[in-house]
Symmetry: C2
Subunit: 201 residues, 2 copies
């Protein structure tokens, strides 16, 4: 990808918005981060809101199709969930502020345009189908009984939480950041193991 002014701005906007949130982000901070004049932001993206929308949309597009990739296909429930775990742990590790950003902004309602995103999304996970598969495997006695939504909440919770809680563990519980990061390297394996045992009938 060419390093145009437009892409430089977007990269800077991602950095600032994702770290500080919409309300906490300053257009000047984005301009500084990009090393260009603030007027350029409006020249290319019109307004803070529009620029934010691009950042948010791309952030979501990096998350949602990953879910679909993992959940569609022929694997068993456990195999699919293992894919979800590994894909998300790896992806979030590259941008630890991402989940808190997405969660916080969606909680702020700032997002009427979620609907428009779903239509744009090339791949959107088919939850009803996956939930059906879970029920079938449960009836077949392959995995323990648990409502599919709860199972999904459990898995995603174990995946996402450590990243958004890292500052708590490091500052409140006072685990050195280096120690915490090295724990995170095994994270996917630990979750997969925990999940497999929990689902053993």
């Amino acid at each position: 990808m060419p390093e145009t002014t437009e892409t430089t701005i977007l990269a800077a906007a991602k950095k600032v918005f994702i770290k500080k949130g919409y309300a906490g982000a300053r257009m000047q901070a984005i301009a500084d981060e990009a090393g260009i004049n603030k007027a350029m932001l409006h020249y290319y993206y019109r307004s803070k809101e529009k620029l934010f929308r691009v950042v948010f949309e791309q952030a979501m597009m990096g998350l949602i199709p990953k879910l679909d990739e993992a959940l569609s296909g022929n694997g068993s429930v456990v195999e699919k969930l293992e894919k979800v775990v590994r894909a998300y742990v790896a992806h979030i590790q590259e941008n630890e502020h991402l989940p808190l950003f997405v969660l916080h902004e969606i909680a702020q309602n700032r997002i009427e345009f979620i609907a428009s995103m779903k239509s744009k999304a090339a791949r959107f996970p088919n939850f009803p189908q996956f939930f059906m598969q879970i029920i079938q495997e449960q009836e077949a006695g392959k995995i323990r009984a648990i409502l599919p939504v709860h199972l999904l909440l459990n898995i995603l919770g174990m995946v996402v939480f450590p990243f958004i809680a890292k500052p708590v563990f490091c500052n409140v519980i006072e685990i050195p950041e280096a120690d915490f990061d090295s724990l995170m390297k095994d994270r996917a394996d630990v979750i997969v193991d925990f999940m497999k045992n929990a689902l053993t009938p």
Copy 2:
């Protein structure tokens, strides 16, 4: 507790700060919520920062001692974790914006004063002790092997995540809010069950 202007302000500030975050909160919005003049906020609390500090401190004080209550005492690891799950699920259910607020603000670094809070806290959980207990039970073959920190992350993740992800599930996956809330009533039971199975040797 008497309903003085001071307490009215604090209640309003809690509502606004916890919902919108520090950066998104407006002093005028707090004044409106409290039904009083904006100058009163400064009369009683000096500045936005100071007012925020009180709100944040009380929010944390509602969370940290609960952990200590659950983790200290004589129960087994599973019994203690079950207490944690039930206490937190119940507490968060009363203020669903609370976890995202705390997590977001701590992530923003707005909190050098965490240290001062720990000394103020009447009860602060003794993690090393609890982690030791986990290792002992593992060596005794009572529960499966898993690094204590990972176990804590798993449990807290399953507890906290559903609340902060509720808007995602309702708006993106399009589960009706009423359905989601009724799912949440079983949440504690589901987590406890999931955990017990996962920890079975």
